[in-house]
């Protein structure tokens, strides 16, 4: 499915909207279509395809389709639908200190629900492999969606973001790049580590989180939300990574498999301090009018995380796969 340049084939459409976009990737006209369910598989896959043109593109698709006005017009409509749903769902906040303080409280005990809690306590190897499959959509391009926002920041916020990004990209060493560590873990778990290999297997609820990151990254107007979602990822990551490390060790997995999450326990302990102090608070100082958006970005990511966790855990509770079935033929 891969070309020499590493671009995946266009995915299989899941409804009328993604069909229009995939047709357009293959040279068809961009037909008018209703956006449909903002969190649904169809819209999220369509948005994913529009966004991938800005990352690595698709095999056999001309690179200049990235700036095709008709496709951009459709993308804008999908983005507005998605964003309006999130804005309606997520309560508006205005106190960044209180929100950060609330996040730094770690719920404990046997009743805490969450994918990483489950994987630590009782998760099975097939469930871990599914979790990693979902997460591959982001981690194989880890830190890329946030890189778009760098030129839109100044001062402490910019320096803070770049410090974290530099670490995510391996501190100048390609072999330490987090996307590379993730790919190594995938191989250890006998999963395909090629970019885009599992897009057809993950539900819209998985694509939605990464789509939010790209949406906020690509629009200068949403730079506050981009910083907010990035800070949220960093603030909530370290304890979750620790739980995954413990779960993986309990499953008897070796160091090569555990390394990615192990690295994130320490890396994100640094990142959370920089993300909260330099990045989010720094931006709020220089552009106080963005406070609402910073909080919105974080809260929107949490909302999508919650949807993802509920979908995955309810499938597993029923003994079923949380992934879409493989395509036939």
């Amino acid at each position: 499915m891969l070309t020499a340049t590493g671009a995946p084939a266009p995915p299989t459409p899941r409804g009328p909207v993604s069909e229009v976009v995939v047709d357009a990737l293959r040279g068809g006209p961009v037909r008018t279509v209703e956006p449909g369910d903002p969190y649904g598989d169809d819209l999220q896959l369509a948005l994913h395809c529009c966004y991938e043109l800005h990352y690595r593109g698709f095999a056999g698709v001309p690179a200049d389709l990235e700036w095709d006005p008709a496709l951009l017009t459709l993308r804008r409509e999908l983005e507005r639908t998605f964003l309006a749903a999130l804005r309606a769902e997520v309560p508006a906040g205005d106190d960044v200190d209180a929100e950060v303080a609330a996040l730094l409280v770690e719920p404990r005990g046997p009743h805490v629900r969450g994918v990483s809690h489950h994987l630590r306590r009782a998760g099975e190897l097939w469930q871990l492999r599914e979790y990693v499959t979902h997460r591959s959509i982001y981690h194989l391009k880890e830190a890329d969606p946030q890189a778009w926002v760098i030129p839109r920041l100044t001062g402490a916020a910019k320096a803070g973001l770049v410090t974290v990004e530099h670490d995510e990209y391996g501190g100048g060493r390609p072999e330490h790049m987090h996307a590379t560590l993730f790919a190594e873990m995938m191989r250890e778990l006998a999963l395909a580590d090629t970019y885009g290999a599992y897009v057809d297997r993950v539900p819209g609820v998985t694509l939605a989180e990464v789509n939010l990151m790209t949406l906020c990254g690509l629009h200068r107007e949403l730079r506050g939300a981009s910083v907010g979602q990035f800070a949220m990822v960093e603030l909530t990551s370290s304890p979750g990574s620790e739980r995954l490390v413990r779960g993986m060790r309990r499953m008897g997995l070796g160091e090569a498999a555990v390394r990615f999450y192990d690295e994130h326990v320490e890396a994100d302990a640094v990142h959370e301090a920089i993300a909260a102090h330099d990045l989010a608070e720094g931006l709020a100082r220089t552009e106080p009018e963005l406070m609402g958006d910073i909080l919105f970005g974080g809260a929107a990511l949490l909302e999508l995380e919650g949807r993802f966790a509920r979908a995955v855990l309810s499938a597993w509770d029923a003994g079923a796969s949380s992934l879409l079935p493989p395509a036939c033929g």
Binding site: R108, G109, H111, D167, E168, G240, E266, A269, V270, A309
Partner: protein
């Protein structure tokens, strides 16, 4: 967090969390053992609760025991 040749090493103390040190750093422990960190910034544990002491693992966070009625589905994810 800048650290050029002419700049001194910067150490940032956070409110309740770790000390952030620009790296790479080598930390000598009381027993003479040395721990090396090559990251651009290292978080040093000051509260001694870290399972990875002297490196911070965010164990300084306040922990709240959750009851069955107060479930959360929010998930945390590495970045």
């Amino acid at each position: 967090m800048e650290n050029t040749v002419s700049d001194p090493t910067r150490m940032t103390l956070t409110d309740e969390g770790p000390a952030l040190v620009t790296g790479p750093v080598e930390i000598e422990l009381p027993d003479g053992r040395r721990v090396r960190s090559d990251r651009p910034v290292t978080a040093l544990c000051l509260c001694r609760r870290s399972r990875r002491w002297p490196i911070c693992d965010t164990s300084h966070r306040t922990k709240v025991r959750e009851t069955p009625k107060d479930e959360t589905d929010e998930e945390d994810d590495p970045c």
